[in-house]
C-alpha cells in the first residue's frame, strides 16, 4: 500500500463514525452481504459485462444509505486500478475475434473481456471500500471474529491497519528527508530507494519487537479483545433480504437481455 493509500483508508474509516442508516446496520450482516456480493460478481464469465450492470445497485444503495460521497471511493479505486489494468491489458491481445458490432464498428471479444474485468474490479473494490466506510475497520474485524474467522487472522488485520499509518508516516519522513537533500531529483534512484526500503524494513522489525513486548506486558495471549455490542434487528433483516434478492435475480435472470427483449417485444 502506498503512502497515499494509507491516508485514503484512514479517511474512509473516519466516515464510519457518523450516524447513518448504513452505519447503524449490524457489522456482521454487512460483512456477509459484501462477501456474497463479491462472490456473485466473481461468478460471472468474461463476456458477461452487461449482466454485471444490475449489481451496481448494491454499492450505489449502500453509498446512499451511508452518505458516502462517490468522490471518496474514486481516489482509492484509481490507486488500485493499475493492478486490475495489468490483468485486463492482455485481454484485447489474446482475443481479437469480433464479438458484436456497434454502429458498424466491430468490438472484439477481448475488449469486452477487458471491460468485464475492470467492471468486476470496480464493483468488488467499491463494495469492500464501502464496507469500511460504513462500518469502520475495527467493527469489520470484530464481525469477522464473531463470524468465526481465526483469531490470529483478525489480530493480523487489526495490527496491520493500526501500523499502516505509522509505517506510512515513517516512509513519508524518509522520502521528505531524501527530497530535502536531493533537490534536483523527483524521486530516489533505484539504489537509494533500495537502501531506504531496507532501513524501513529494519525499523519496522524493531518496532514489531517493541510492540510485541508492550503487548506481552499487558497480558497478550493471542487474542485482541474488542468489545462491540449489538445484535441484528429489523433493518438488518431488511437489508439482508434486499441484498439476497438482488444477488439472486442478478445471478438467475439475464436482466439486460430480458429488458432488451421486452423493449423489442413492445415495439411493433
Amino acid at each position: 500500500m502506498t503512502v497515499g493509500g494509507a491516508g485514503q483508508l484512514g479517511s474512509l474509516g473516519a466516515l464510519a463514525s457518523r450516524d447513518t442508516p448504513a452505519a447503524r446496520l449490524d457489522a456482521r450482516v454487512k460483512v456477509l452481504a459484501t462477501l456474497a456480493f463479491v462472490a456473485v460478481v466473481a461468478s460471472f464469465g468474461r463476456h458477461d459485462l452487461l449482466r454485471l450492470a444490475p449489481l451496481a445497485l448494491f454499492p450505489l444503495v449502500l453509498a446512499a444509505l451511508g452518505d458516502v460521497p462517490l468522490r471518496a471511493l474514486l481516489r482509492p479505486l484509481a490507486l488500485a486500478a493499475p493492478f486490475a489494468l495489468g490483468v485486463a491489458a492482455f485481454e484485447p491481445l489474446l482475443d481479437r475475434a469480433p464479438a458484436f458490432t456497434v454502429g458498424g464498428v466491430a468490438i472484439s471479444g477481448g475488449a469486452v473481456g477487458m471491460a468485464t474485468i475492470l467492471a468486476k474490479f470496480a464493483l468488488s473494490l467499491s463494495a469492500a471500500l464501502l464496507l469500511v466506510a460504513t462500518t469502520g475497520f475495527d467493527h469489520v474485524c470484530v464481525a469477522l471474529r464473531r463470524l468465526g474467522a481465526p483469531r490470529a487472522l483478525v489480530a493480523q488485520l487489526l495490527l496491520t491497519h493500526r501500523y499502516l499509518f505509522v509505517l506510512a508516516a515513517e516512509a513519508g519522513r524518509s522520502l521528505r528527508a531524501h527530497a530535502l537533500r536531493a533537490p534536483g531529483r523527483r524521486r530516489p534512484t533505484l539504489r537509494v530507494a533500495g537502501t531506504m526500503l531496507g532501513a524501513l524494513l529494519v525499523r519496522a522489525l524493531a518496532r514489531a519487537e517493541r510492540i510485541h513486548a508492550a503487548m506481552k506486558c499487558r497480558g497478550f495471549e493471542g487474542e485482541l479483545p474488542l468489545v462491540r455490542r449489538g445484535r441484528p434487528g429489523r433493518p438488518d433483516a431488511l437489508f439482508a433480504a434486499a441484498t439476497a434478492a438482488l444477488l439472486l435475480v442478478a445471478r438467475a435472470v439475464d436482466v439486460p437481455a430480458r429488458l432488451g427483449a421486452g423493449l423489442a417485444g413492445g415495439l411493433p
Binding site: 484512514g10 463514525s17 475495527d138 493500526r162 518496532r207 499487558r218 468489545v227
Partner: protein, 251 residues
C-alpha cells in the same frame, strides 16, 4: 507480601550482539517509593526496565517483583503487579481505538465487562483523557498519546508503575501536565529519564547508572546535587539546581 516491592540483585545482562548493558546492578524498592533512574544514553536504563517487566531475563543475578521472582513461569503474576509504559506511545497503543486500548489489559485479566468499563473510564478520567475514548490512537497529539499510554497501564491497577522517558517529545504544557499527574499518583513508581527536572519533581529517590553499574543511589535532592557523579554519568544538574542565568545566584 514481602516487605519490599521490587528487588534487583546483582543483575548482569548482555545483548545478543555481545554489548554488555548491565554489570551487577542491585537495589530494593519499597511500597510507595518513587525512584528516578537516570544515566546517559546506553547506560542501561531501558534494559533494566525490560528486565523488571520480564521482557528479557538476566544472565546472572535475580529480579523479584512483589512475591514473585521474575522468570518465564511467573510472568502472568509479574505483569499483574508491574505496569510498564513504553517510551514510544505508538508501541504502547496497538488497538484501534483509545477505549479498546485501555480496556485491553483489564480484559486480559479476565475481569467482567462492567468492571472493565468502569476501570477504562476511571483510568482515562485519571489522566484527563475521558473525552478521547472513541478516537483512533494515530490521530492523537503527542501529549494525548502519552496520557492514554499511562491510562492503559493504570487500568490494570498495578502495584508499581514503570515509565521509560515519559516526558520525551512533549511540549512544555503537556510536560507540566504529566509532572502534576505523576506527583498525584500514590503508586510506587520507577521513572527512567534524561529529564532530570522531571525526576527532581516526581521522584524522592534517584539511582544514577553509569556503564551498567549503580554510580549513586539516594535521596533525589542529594544525588542530583553531586556534580561529580552527574559529570561521570554525562548528565547535568536539573535546571532548578543550577544557578540563576541572569544574576548568577546559586540554585
Amino acid at each position: 507480601m514481602s516487605h519490599h516491592l521490587v528487588g534487583v540483585d546483582d543483575v548482569h545482562y548482555a545483548y545478543p550482539d555481545g554489548t554488555q548493558a548491565l554489570r551487577g546492578v542491585s537495589f530494593l524498592l519499597h511500597h510507595g517509593e518513587s525512584l528516578g533512574l537516570v544515566g546517559a544514553n546506553g547506560a542501561g536504563k531501558s534494559t533494566l526496565l525490560l528486565l523488571l517487566a520480564g521482557v528479557v531475563f538476566p544472565e546472572r543475578g535475580a529480579v523479584r517483583v512483589g512475591d514473585w521472582p521474575v522468570t518465564p513461569a511467573t510472568l502472568p503474576h509479574v505483569r499483574r503487579s508491574l505496569g510498564m509504559v513504553f517510551q514510544d506511545p505508538d508501541d504502547q497503543l496497538f488497538m484501534p481505538t483509545v477505549e479498546d486500548d485501555v480496556a485491553f489489559g483489564p480484559l486480559q485479566l479476565g475481569l467482567p465487562p462492567d468492571e472493565v468499563r468502569a476501570r477504562t473510564a476511571a483510568a482515562l478520567a485519571r489522566v484527563g483523557a475521558a473525552h478521547l475514548g472513541p478516537r483512533m490512537p494515530h490521530r492523537l497529539s503527542g501529549g494525548e498519546k502519552r496520557a492514554v499510554s499511562i491510562a492503559t497501564v493504570l487500568a490494570m491497577s498495578p502495584d508499581v508503575l514503570v515509565m521509560d522517558e515519559p516526558s520525551a517529545g512533549l511540549d512544555p504544557a503537556s510536560r507540566r501536565g504529566l509532572v502534576e499527574q505523576l506527583q498525584a499518583f500514590e503508586h510506587t513508581k520507577i521513572v527512567a529519564s534524561h529529564d532530570l527536572d522531571l525526576v527532581y519533581e516526581v521522584c524522592r529517590r534517584t539511582i544514577v547508572l553509569v556503564g551498567g553499574t549503580v554510580a549513586a543511589d539516594g535521596p533525589t535532592a542529594e544525588v542530583l546535587a553531586r556534580r561529580d557523579v552527574l559529570a561521570a554519568a554525562r548528565l547535568e544538574p536539573p535546571l532548578r539546581l543550577q544557578g540563576c542565568p541572569r544574576c548568577g545566584a546559586a540554585g
